[in-house]
Symmetry: C2
Subunit: 393 residues, 2 copies
C-alpha cells in the first residue's frame, strides 16, 4: 500500500553494531499537518527537547531517526547534536530546520557520534527514491526481535486514503509512553486541532495501555504526519468522516501497541487485562496497571500458575477503591474467584489450562461501580533478565 507523497530511506551510519541499518529518514513532498506525544519523564532526551520545539507550530515535513544511541543525559552537547542534525537534513532537503523531527533510541548517557551522522546524511537523502516504510521499521529496532508495522485504508468524500505506522520498543514499556517510538503517516487531509485530539486519544487507548516492565524512557515519541496528498475534503471533528478516521487511527495504533507487547523482552505470553466494576475508569486503570506491572503476577504467568491470589493482592495495593468481598476474577471464561474467594476445585485445573495458552485474558470485576479499563501485558521470564543484564555488553 502506498501513502502518497511520502518517501523513505535508511543507511548504516555505524552508530550501533556493524551490519545493521541504524539511521532512517521519512520525508513528505509537501509540509504535513503533524502532532506528537512525548515522554512525560522529567529526564528528557535531547531529540525530544528539540523535536517538541519544532512541532509546536503543528507541521512537519521530515523525520530523521537513529537507533544505537538515545542521546539522553548528554547535556548541552547532546542538544547541539540534535539541532545540527535537523539543520543538515533541512539543508539537504531544501526545507526549514523546524520542519524536521529528530528521534533517537538506544543507550543512555553516551555522547552521539555526530560525525557519523553528518557523513551519512547525503546518502540518506539520495536514498529517498528507493526506500520503503518497512526499511525504517527495521532500522529503528534495538532489542526488538521483529519489525512492527501496520497499514489500513479509509475513505473520505469518495476519496481513498491510507494510514500506515511503524513502531519499536520491547522492554521499558509502560503507560505514558516508554522506550517506544512510533511514527504514523497518512495521506489524508486532516484538520490540525482534530488531528491532535484524536491522536492523543488513540495514544491513550493503545501505547498508554501497554506495560512490559513498568519503566518509562527518556526518549518516547509517538508522532503523526498527515500530508493531505490523497486530495480528500479536510476531515474534521463531529463528522462521519472524522469518526471513521479516528476508528482507523485507533486500530493502527492498537495493532502496533499489541505487537510491542508480543515482542516484550523475553515474553512468552500475551495477556489482556480487563478490569470492570470499578468506581470509575481511573480506578479501573490503576487496578489493571498494578496487575500488569506486578513482578509476582508476571512470573506466575510465565510459570503457567493460576495464582489468582497474587492478582487480588495487586488489586489490593493498587490504590483503587476495593471491597475485597466483591472481587471476582476469570482467566478467559473460567471463573477462578467470586465474591473474594475461590470459585471451586475444578477451577484450578481449568484455569491452569487457560494459562498454558500463549494468549489469554484476565478479567477482574471490582463489583462496586461501572468504571472499566483494558491493558495489555506480557510475562516476566528468565530471558528478560538475560537481555537486560547484558544489554550494553
Amino acid at each position: 500500500m502506498t501513502v502518497r507523497g511520502f518517501s523513505f530511506s535508511t543507511v548504516e551510519a555505524a552508530i550501533k553494531k556493524p551490519g545493521r541499518k541504524d539511521l532512517g529518514l521519512i520525508f513528505s513532498t509537501v509540509p504535513a499537518t503533524a502532532s506528537a506525544v512525548f515522554t512525560t519523564s522529567s529526564v528528557k532526551a535531547a531529540p525530544v527537547l528539540v523535536s517538541r520545539e519544532h512541532i509546536a507550530n503543528g507541521t512537519a515535513q521530515a523525520l530523521i531517526v537513529n537507533s544505537g544511541n538515545a542521546n539522553a543525559c548528554t547535556g548541552e552537547p547532546g542538544i547541539a547534536v540534535a539541532q545540527e542534525t535537523a539543520r543538515l537534513v533541512a539543508l539537504a532537503l531544501g526545507i526549514e530546520s523546524t520542519a524536521v523531527q529528530v528521534c533517537s533510541t538506544g543507550v543512555i548517557g553516551v555522547q552521539m557520534p555526530f560525525e557519523r551522522i553528518q557523513a551519512s546524511i547525503p546518502k540518506l537523502v539520495e536514498g529517498l527514491s528507493t526506500g520503503a516504510l518497512a526499511d525504517v521499521a527495521d532500522a529503528i529496532m534495538t532489542t526488538d526481535t521483529f519489525a512492527k508495522m501496520e497499514t489500513m485504508r479509509g475513505e473520505a468524500g469518495g476519496v481513498d486514503y491510507s494510514v500506515a505506522g511503524i513502531a519499536k520498543g520491547a522492554g521499558m514499556i509502560m503507560p505514558n509512553m516508554a522506550t517506544m517510538l512510533s511514527f504514523i503517516i497518512t495521506d489524508a487531509a486532516v484538520e490540525q486541532n482534530f488531528l491532535q485530539q484524536t491522536f492523543r486519544r488513540a495514544v491513550d487507548a493503545s501505547f498508554n495501555a501497554i506495560t512490559v516492565d513498568g519503566d518509562m524512557s527518556t526518549n518516547d515519541t509517538c508522532l503523526i504526519m498527515a500530508n493531505g496528498m490523497a486530495g480528500n475534503p479536510i476531515i474534521g471533528e463531529g463528522s462521519a468522516e472524522g469518526y471513521a478516521f479516528s476508528v482507523t487511527l485507533n486500530a493502527v495504533l492498537l495493532s502496533l501497541a499489541k505487537q510491542i507487547v508480543k515482542d516484550g523482552e523475553g515474553a512468552t505470553k500475551f495477556v489482556e487485562i480487563r478490569v470492570t466494576g470499578a468506581s470509575n475508569d481511573a480506578d479501573a486503570k490503576r487496578a489493571a496497571l498494578a496487575i500488569g506491572n506486578s513482578s509476582l503476577v508476571k512470573t506466575a504467568f510465565f510459570g503457567q500458575d493460576a495464582n489468582w491470589g497474587r492478582i487480588f493482592a495487586a488489586v489490593g495495593y493498587s490504590g483503587a477503591e476495593v471491597d475485597q468481598t466483591r472481587l471476582s476474577l476469570s482467566f478467559d471464561d473460567v471463573c477462578m474467584a467470586r465474591n473474594g474467594i475461590f470459585a471451586g476445585d475444578d477451577a484450578e485445573a481449568r484455569g491452569t489450562a487457560v494459562l498454558r495458552q500463549k494468549e489469554f485474558t484476565v478479567s477482574v470485576d471490582l463489583g462496586i461501580g461501572s468504571g472499566t479499563a483494558t491493558i495489555y501485558t506480557s510475562d516476566l521470564t528468565h530471558e528478560y533478565v538475560s537481555i537486560n543484564a547484558d544489554y550494553r555488553s
Copy 2:
C-alpha cells in the same frame, strides 16, 4: 540473651510440606503493652482483620503464627478460622481471646486446614517451657533461605532490658509493608502512646524503606510487645531513656529489614540507595523507590553494568521534582555523572568495579533542595523468576 517473661514454642502442624515446623507461639507471662502496623492493602488477610481488632486496646499477651497458608482471600470461613484459633489459644493459656494476635503467611486463596491447627494447639502450649525465639524465626520462613533475628540491650533507670526481634519475608517486599512478618519483644516497661509512636517511626525507617519486587502483600504485620518484666521505670516520650529506647528499637528493626533484602528472592546484590538534594523528603523517597523498583535498574545491578542512564531514567519518571541539568550520581565514591552528563571515561571502569561487589551504595543528588531518603534494595535475577514461577508447585 533472655527477654524476661517471654516463652516460645513451635510444632509441625502439616500446613506446609512435611518435615518443617510451621506453627509458632510467643507468650508473655503478663499482659504486654503492644502496638502493630498492618498492611495498607485493601485486600487484607483474615488474621490481619482479626488481629487489628484484638490489638485496638493497646495490649497483647500471646501471638500465634503459621506459615504455609496466608488465610487471605478466604472470605467469612477464613475469618472464622482466625477467630477460632485465637479462642482456642486463649482457652489453653487461660487468657482472653482479644489478648491473642493471629498471623499467617503463605499461599493466598486456599482455605486454612483448621483441624490441623486445632489438633496442634495443646502440644504448642505444652512446648512453651522448652522453646526459643529462634525456633519461631525458623517456623515462619517461606521462601526465606535463612532465619532473621536480632537482639540488642538497653538500660533505663539503672535497669538493663532487652529488645529482640524476628522477621520473615523475601519476595513481595515493598514499602508500606510486604509479605513481611516481624515480631519484636522487649521486657522494658514502655508507656503505651510513646511505644506506638516510636514503633511507627522505626517501621517507616526500616521495613518501609526496603523493596525487593515492589509488591505488597495481604498479610504484612509488624508487631511489638513490651511486657515491663525488666522492672525499669516506665519509659516515655521526651526523656533520655525514651530517646535511647528509640535508637535501640530502630537498630533492631533496621537490622531485620536489611536481612530481608539480603535474602531477597534470588538476590546477589545488596544495594543502598541514597537520594539527596530533593525539594523535600517525600520527593527523595519517590525517586529512591523508583530506582529501587525499576526492573531495568535491578537487572543492570545483576549484570554488574554501570548503567547510570537507567537510574536517571527512573528518577525522571518517579514524579519527584527534577532538573535534569543538576542530577549527579555516584556508585560508592565513584562519580558517574555530574550535572546530568557522564563524568568521564575512567568512571566507567571504576563504576563497574564497584558494581562487582556484593554490597554497594548508589547516591543520587537531585541538586535542587535539602530533601533526603535512603532505601535498600536487591538485584533482579534469573533465580527470582525461577522461585516465583514455581512457588506454588
